[in-house]
Symmetry: C2
Subunit: 322 residues, 2 copies
């Protein structure tokens, strides 16, 4: 095999490590856990931002540093856990100019303040690629943490917001297209200044009504596939939540808005499942919760049923822009 996919790479690691031993969350949940007691786990997550694949043209250094934190915080959000502290590891190409370092520090600090966590240490290194790795640390009661593998047939599938903005915004940035950058400001902004749904994630977990949750950084379709695989269920979508601007953009550029929403990525909405009896209460608490489908038995796989036609949703994830 010449070029393993991310999933194949993870499989190699899962095979090498005796991962059943110390892994109360499994090897593939959004975060990892170190159990301290029956009621207290340390929650850890690392996420690496690599400039050559994660930072499109038009994104500033400060925005890239902020985004690195958002990516890690988003995984905590999906589990309903507040990150308390962040560690920052930097790989920096030469020359390491003071202005660039200050921009990195500002972006990190901005994000840490937004999500109310402290940056407590780090490591700096010379590298050929600009790399920011953010490790987040928090504490959770395992009985309240929302896993990936709890979805059950009959559950409602919902998301915290509409999709497709980042996929569309990225296309505009990649074309370095100034006119459309200002016309579709909200789409470009979604790429440059993403937001983790930490408040919503914590409120959802506290409600007790959520059966599974994942962040959507790998794309909506991929996130649904991951919940389905972890929970051993099928999912049937009856709506794809598409942002209004994405429809306009798709129209102008003759693209499929549905594809932008399903197969985009680097969006940090949450994808959850909930028991039907709890759903109205959840919607009341989390204003923006959008119902998009229903959990079925595993044999049904992942399908969409729009305008009376049933079709399979591909296991296709977010492809980096390179």
């Amino acid at each position: 095999m010449n070029n393993l996919t991310e999933r194949e790479i993870i499989q190699v690691f899962a095979n090498q490590f005796d991962y059943k031993k110390g892994f109360p969350l499994g090897f593939e949940d959004d975060v990892s856990a170190v159990p301290l007691s029956r009621t207290m786990w340390i929650i850890v997550k690392t996420d690496m931002l690599v400039a050559s694949t994660d930072v499109p043209p038009g994104m500033t250094t400060q925005e890239a540093a902020r985004k690195a934190v958002v990516a890690t915080v988003s995984d905590f959000a999906a589990k309903g856990v507040k990150p308390r502290a962040l560690m920052v590891s930097l790989g920096l190409p030469k020359p390491t100019r003071a202005t660039k370092i200050r921009d990195i520090a500002r972006g990190l600090d901005q994000a840490a303040r937004e999500y109310d966590c402290d940056i407590i240490g780090g490591d700096t290194n010379q590298a050929e690629d600009f790399v920011i790795d953010i490790a987040g640390v928090g504490i959770a009661d395992p009985r309240k943490l929302v896993r990936r593998d709890g979805a059950q047939p009959g559950d409602i599938v919902a998301v915290t917001g509409p999709f497709g903005k980042c996929a569309a915004g990225l296309r505009i940035l990649m074309r370095r297209d100034r006119r459309h950058t200002s016309k579709y400001h909200s789409l470009v902004n979604a790429v440059r200044r993403p937001a983790a749904q930490l408040t919503k994630g914590i409120a959802l977990a506290r409600s007790g009504g959520v059966t599974s949750s994942i962040d959507s950084s790998d794309g909506l379709a991929s996130s649904l596939h991951q919940i389905a695989r972890a929970s051993r269920v099928g999912i049937s979508l009856d709506a794809v939540p598409i942002a209004a601007d994405v429809k306009r953009f798709a129209n102008e550029f003759h693209l499929s808005a549905t594809d932008l929403a399903l197969y985009g990525g680097e969006e940090y909405e949450l994808v959850i499942t909930a028991r039907p009896k709890n759903f109205p209460e959840l919607q009341k608490r989390i204003g923006s919760l959008i119902r998009i489908g229903i959990v079925e038995g595993a044999r049904h796989g992942l399908t969409a049923c729009f305008e009376g036609k049933r079709s399979r949703i591909e296991q296709r994830g977010w492809e980096h822009f390179t």
Copy 2:
């Protein structure tokens, strides 16, 4: 300023972040801490290995992956804290061949077993440089953790082993010199298969007699400077602990063995200070503890006194081999 040093970069971050708030260990100790209670802190450390600057010719992928873990474990060792779990973030250049991924997994697994900790999760990314970032997590009683800033005038300065092997071994590897590679096998081996002094570090912390401790990954001189700066003391060396093979090597290549020992780096011995009354007991417990000097008042700075001559030890650290 065109090219900030690592210290200057850290200073930019320390200025940006409100680092006095949530930093019980300060911004510059070997590890960082998240306080849970008066008797329990979460200890975190991230360390990034970058192939272009940290992996010399002649070091295999498996050895590089193992070394990435050793670097993080070594910081825990210096504080006398056992790392419980490790997170792995990878930046992988294309093509990501299965053999390479398996070698990485084997190296990580090997090190995790050596230091009895679990690899509990991670993140993989495409990158232009091969990067392994290891985040370690542990638990410590803050009253038993050995800080950098506790050295007091009158303390004895000691190290857990002789120095210079990595600096010498690296020179041999950089020359791609087969004959000397086999002649100085122990020196090359010190680079390719370094060891963290975790057992010794934990025993030293348990003894209660150690006033400060640091790992020597930045070089012996740099480590002494860091203890002196953090503790606001001076240090006078009366011996530089040089490995026997390093003397032979320095002789053959007309190099200063003292310089190799003082200004090398990527060695993972511990540099400690201890009250004189506790030192004999420590030496009994830790077989290989070598006395190298004494702590003085800050005004004396960092000096060495060999053969009756007193000289200043430069604040010069480990320079990567590029």
